[in-house]
């Protein structure tokens, strides 16, 4: 027990910041949908705070960070129940209390499934969603988290780099989004030509995400030290570069400066820098920010005409952005920053690890999410998509008994 009050102070704040990202996401997504689904969309994110907080301290943390439950040749696939209901976590720790690590990691587990909800917004049954949250954290998030971040985890052991969650959080959510959009099915009625119902909310959400992301990335070293400062800077730099790139590319293509585009660009930059934030410097961040904006912009454009109704482009932004970030981490990693050389410093081997990590986590997330949803779909009383009337009247009224906005008068 050798605590540093400065580290504790920073990690308390970082945890609060990451928690705050989830309502930020609720507004980012909530602003993008039609007004009749704003409450529903916000609730998807908001409820993750309730459900995942409980699952995490009961068994989620243990599955993710416990000792090896399933072991293949010294590499672990899943944690055991050592920390079930926070047992065996005392008041000890190095630098910060172990309990603070539990808390910080909890905030990551909360936001990840919330990210997925953009894919099935405006049509997913809320009761099923509550059940989905429990299973998804247990069967998808916790294992992948274990692979990548637990010292026994098989990807961690191979040496894959993921500082703050490019694969664990973003690629994972992005692939789960594909599974969800696919199985849930398209929104009924005309969905072309829809635009964000509340642009200020979109920007508010993006701003809160940006603000909270400092905790996400600069907290991932668990210390108030130089690496945290660097992570803070590269986070801001990539967000800025991607936002600017997206805005300009959008302008070149449409002659307009879309605020939704700018916000999306910023988020794409934040996604891509996430795995890299402990390994690259500001020039790497610039490169990552500019390229991810290009890659995601054209992904998003391409997805518009796709058959998959990924309503809020979760795959296009978090899937593709997480993938790109994971690969670019391998490219731009600097020994002087995070202790590992990247491709530009001549270490080609790291790229293999990054590719393996991307393939393994992406495929697992896709398949496991498909299976979970398929099962939920056939369980009587559950099912994925709401009834047609519910959907056309808006989920707010039908599922939540509320209307987002009520005027006083002729109402």
């Amino acid at each position: 027990m050798n605590f540093d009050t400065g580290h504790i102070a920073w990690m308390l704040v970082a945890s609060a910041l990451v928690l705050f990202m989830t309502p930020g996401l609720a507004f980012f997504y909530g602003g993008l949908v039609r007004a009749k689904n704003v409450v529903s969309t916000i609730m998807y994110s908001f409820m993750s705070m309730a459900v995942v907080s409980i699952v995490w301290i009961l068994w989620g943390y243990s599955l993710a960070f416990g000792d090896s439950l399933i072991d293949i040749g010294g590499s672990s696939l899943l944690g055991d129940f050592k920390f079930f209901a926070l047992s065996n976590i005392g008041a000890g720790g190095e630098g910060i209390p172990d309990l603070l690590f539990v808390v910080f990691q909890m905030m990551f587990a909360i936001i990840t499934p919330a990210l997925i909800t953009g894919a099935f917004a405006e049509r997913f049954k809320f009761s099923t969603y509550l059940v989905f949250l429990v299973f998804w954290i247990t069967l998808v998030y916790a294992p992948i988290c274990h692979w990548v971040w637990q010292s026994d985890g098989w990807l961690f052991k191979r040496g894959a780099l993921d500082f703050a969650g490019g694969t664990v959080v973003h690629l994972n959510a992005g692939m789960a989004a594909v599974a969800a959009a696919w199985l849930v099915g398209k929104r009924r009625g005309e969905t072309e030509g829809l635009s964000a119902h509340n642009v200020p909310f979109v920007v508010l959400g993006a701003a809160i995400l940006w603000f909270g992301w400092f905790g996400f990335n600069a907290g991932s070293g668990l210390s108030a030290n130089f690496q945290a400062v660097n992570a803070f800077l590269v986070t801001n730099t990539a967000a800025a570069a991607a936002m600017l790139t997206w805005t300009i590319v959008g302008y070149l293509q449409t002659k307009k400066f879309s605020a939704v585009g700018a916000a999306t660009g910023a988020v794409a930059g934040l996604v891509a820098i996430t795995p890299a934030s402990g390994f690259v410097d500001a020039s790497g961040a610039l490169a990552i920010g500019v390229t991810v904006a290009l890659v995601c912009y054209f992904s998003a454009k391409f997805m518009e005409n796709s058959k998959l109704d990924d309503a809020l482009v979760v795959f296009g932004v978090h899937g593709v952005g997480g993938l790109w970030g994971a690969l670019m981490t391998g490219v731009f990693a600097l020994e002087s920053v995070g202790g590992t050389k990247g491709l530009i410093e001549g270490n080609g081997a790291i790229m293999i690890e990054q590719i393996i990590a991307v393939l393994a986590t992406g495929a697992y997330s896709l398949i496991a999410t498909l299976i979970i949803l398929k099962i939920l779909d056939v369980i009587p009383g559950l099912g994925l998509q709401v009834a047609e009337q519910t959907e056309s009247a808006g989920l707010d009224v039908s599922e939540h008994g509320e209307r987002g906005y009520v005027q006083d008068v002729a109402d």
Binding site: A393, V397, G401, E402, R403
Partner: protein, 117 residues
């Protein structure tokens, strides 16, 4: 000339707009209203999610188009087609009101009446 006003379900707006254009009616305007008829209201929470009340009125959209007398019937038909739900229709499918218009002016050109439509 007559004014045709139809109270429709908000979610039908796009279908109705298309139907109007198909039948050659290119001028109209739309308003948000709330209304009550045989279909009474929607259940909305009051308090803190602890109980709900049937609000007095439902969100509806009012479509207003002024047309020449000879187009009246085909527009009404188009509106019925676009708004009736299923074979039988459902409560809340809406109502259409027709009333006389004595004069129309196009501001831009000063054209009058049928020419202005």
């Amino acid at each position: 000339m007559v004014k045709i006003e139809a109270v429709i379900r908000p979610e039908k707006v796009n279908v109705v707009v298309e139907a109007l254009e198909k039948v050659g009616c290119g001028g109209f305007h739309l308003l948000n209203v709330t209304g009550r008829g045989n279909q009474k209201g929607i259940e909305i929470f009051v308090g803190r999610g602890t109980s709900s009340a049937t609000r007095s009125s439902l969100p509806k959209t009012l479509v207003v188009t002024v047309v020449q007398d000879r187009d009246k019937d085909k527009v009404i038909e188009a509106l019925i087609d676009a708004n009736r739900t299923g074979e039988e229709g459902r409560i809340g499918d809406g109502k259409i009101f027709v009333s006389p218009v004595s004069e129309v002016v196009r501001v831009r050109t000063g054209e009058k009446d049928n020419k202005a439509l």
